[in-house]
């Protein structure tokens, strides 16, 4: 690439960054204008951006309910990690086995087809009944959210492995069990990871829903408390943090994705 072309792209990149930054700043300025300056929205309905940032800063040190801010983040993080862990631990092996063994597929499919369309949030009352209002019920709801997309993607990944690769393995002397672990599972990894990504997204929604309904800690609780106590800045704080958490989760999964499917053409 020539020097001038390089400069050209540098410039575009710089301009893009400048544009993105200015739109964010513009958004904050409008928000500030609408609340503090023009007073279009009373602070009890929509607090000013400074107030939100101050709340975030303040709550790092001062507790809200049982926990300080990082405590709430930590609690939510533990719930999501345990829920995702349990769901993946069940969904991936089950999906692999269902995709590979047709008898198991025939047995498990009807049950899964009945349970899958039920929105995970609909499980909340039963979850509380079965697991109480502690960690158990939240983890259960999150796990349900993560379980089905991961299961379905794993199943499809295994089911639609290029038959040519299986034939190649057979004619090289691999037996069924070897083919499952050496060919079918690695070949389905891209679809499995895609399923995990969808699942984790859904799991985060379930986390918030579960914490809204029955919790005294966590980011969902902060959001709920803001409404109850007429402190919208608290709700907005929780919303911003859950957004950041989801963004980070997506980044981490993308990283993992790039690592495990190193063999795929970009």
């Amino acid at each position: 690439m020539s020097r001038s072309a390089e400069n050209f792209w540098d410039k575009v990149y710089r301009e893009k960054t400048v544009l993105s930054l200015s739109s964010v700043l513009g958004f904050l300025a409008l928000w500030h204008l609408a609340t503090d300056i023009l007073g279009l929205m009373p602070a009890i309905v929509l607090p000013s951006p400074e107030k939100v940032f101050f709340t975030i800063y303040e709550k790092i040190l001062a507790p809200v309910g049982e926990e300080k801010l990082f405590g709430h983040i930590g609690v939510s993080l533990v719930r999501i990690l345990v829920g995702v862990g349990i769901a993946l631990g069940l969904a991936i092996p089950l999906g692999i086995l269902m995709g590979w063994y047709e008898d198991l597929d025939s047995m498990a499919s009807p049950i899964i087809e009945v349970l899958r369309p039920i929105p995970p949030i609909a499980w909340i009352p039963l979850a509380i009944l079965w697991f109480g209002i502690g960690l158990g019920s939240k983890v259960f709801i999150i796990a349900i959210g993560v379980f089905f997309p991961t299961l379905i993607n794993t199943y499809i990944g295994v089911k639609f492995v290029d038959p040519l690769l299986i034939k190649a393995a057979q004619t090289l002397g691999a037996k069924d069990k070897d083919i499952l672990w050496e060919v079918v599972v690695p070949a389905s990894v891209p679809l499995i990871v895609a399923g995990v990504r969808i699942g984790v997204g859904l799991g985060m929604m379930c986390l918030v829903a579960a914490e809204l309904v029955a919790a005294s800690t966590g980011l969902g609780y902060l959001i709920m408390l803001g409404g109850d106590d007429l402190k919208p800045e608290l709700s907005i704080t929780g919303m911003i943090l859950i957004g950041i958490l989801r963004l980070l989760a997506d980044r981490v999964i993308l990283r993992i994705e790039r690592r495990v499917i190193y063999w795929k053409k970009e």
Binding site: K167, Q170, T171, L172, D178
Partner: protein, 271 residues
């Protein structure tokens, strides 16, 4: 053992294969019988879609005949086996495995210890001239390189029979010539029984002991032409491909075989 009376390695008896496509089934291979002797290199040519691949896949154990039976060493073939290695038209390399790991794949199931496997892999990487690419993944290789890996993967596994389905079809002319000469050399040094499918009459005559010409669908055997003995181009495998294709005997054979294929195409109105 007498050259002329080698035992049958592979045989097909009255093999017919049905094929299903879009809810209709049609006859792909129609009552084919043939034998391939141990150490023989047999090439099948024929019009596109004539059932060559399907017929070969019955020997591989990947397709079950609707009628008739296929045998190896007199025993019926009922499924795939490492003794009948297949080089597929589309390479079929494992994309998540490196060149070395691909070549090593079958050796693990033969129970060969790790050090020995490494040695075999090294030998074949040299043979296919891919030193320096041992740790490359298939997507980083050219078509010709991938095809060489696919061939080495099967060769390294030391099957008694090699089934090769248009292995050079995807290659450019130059690479193809090199690969034909390589294979020819490998066949001389590592004497195996080979069944080879191609569209190229030149390739068929250069490589084969016998050339089997199949009819258009449903595939039957139209004629079998021996190359080595009666037609006397015995040393061609030690010669360069470009020299062989200009021999008078070669051109005569080519005209004969082309005549048969052309007649078949015209007769069945394939064009």
């Amino acid at each position: 053992m007498n050259e002329e009376q080698r035992p049958d390695k592979l045989s097909a008896r009255n093999v017919s294969v049905m094929y299903e496509k879009d809810d209709t089934s049609f006859l792909a291979v129609d009552d084919v019988s043939m034998t391939i002797q141990e150490g023989e290199f047999v090439v099948i040519v024929g019009p596109s879609g004539c059932g060559k691949t399907t017929f070969m896949n019955t020997f591989a154990g990947l397709v079950r005949p609707a009628k008739g039976k296929v045998y190896m060493d007199g025993e019926e073939i009922t499924g795939p086996s490492a003794e009948r290695g297949v080089v597929f038209q589309q390479f079929a390399l494992f994309p998540w495995k490196t060149v070395s790991e691909n070549i090593e794949f079958g050796l693990k199931y033969r129970g060969i210890p790790k050090e020995q496997r490494d040695e075999i892999v090294k030998k074949y990487v040299q043979l296919i001239k891919l030193e320096g690419f041992e740790k490359s993944y298939p997507h980083e290789l050219s078509g010709g390189m991938k095809q060489r890996v696919a061939i080495a993967r099967v060769y390294a596994n030391r099957p008694q029979v090699l089934l090769m389905d248009e292995p050079f079809g995807a290659l450019d002319a130059q690479t193809r010539t090199i690969m034909q000469e390589d294979l020819s050399g490998m066949f001389l040094t590592e004497k195996r029984t080979v069944l080879f499918i191609t569209h190229s009459v030149d390739e068929a005559i250069y490589l084969g002991d016998r050339v089997v010409i199949m009819t258009a669908r449903p595939g039957k055997i139209k004629k079998i032409i021996p190359i080595t003995r009666e037609n006397l181009i015995p040393d061609r495998r030690q010669m360069r491909y470009d020299d062989v294709v200009n021999l008078k005997e070669f051109l005569e054979l080519k005209a004969d075989i082309w005549g048969l294929i052309k007649a078949e195409i015209l007769e069945k109105h394939i064009l």
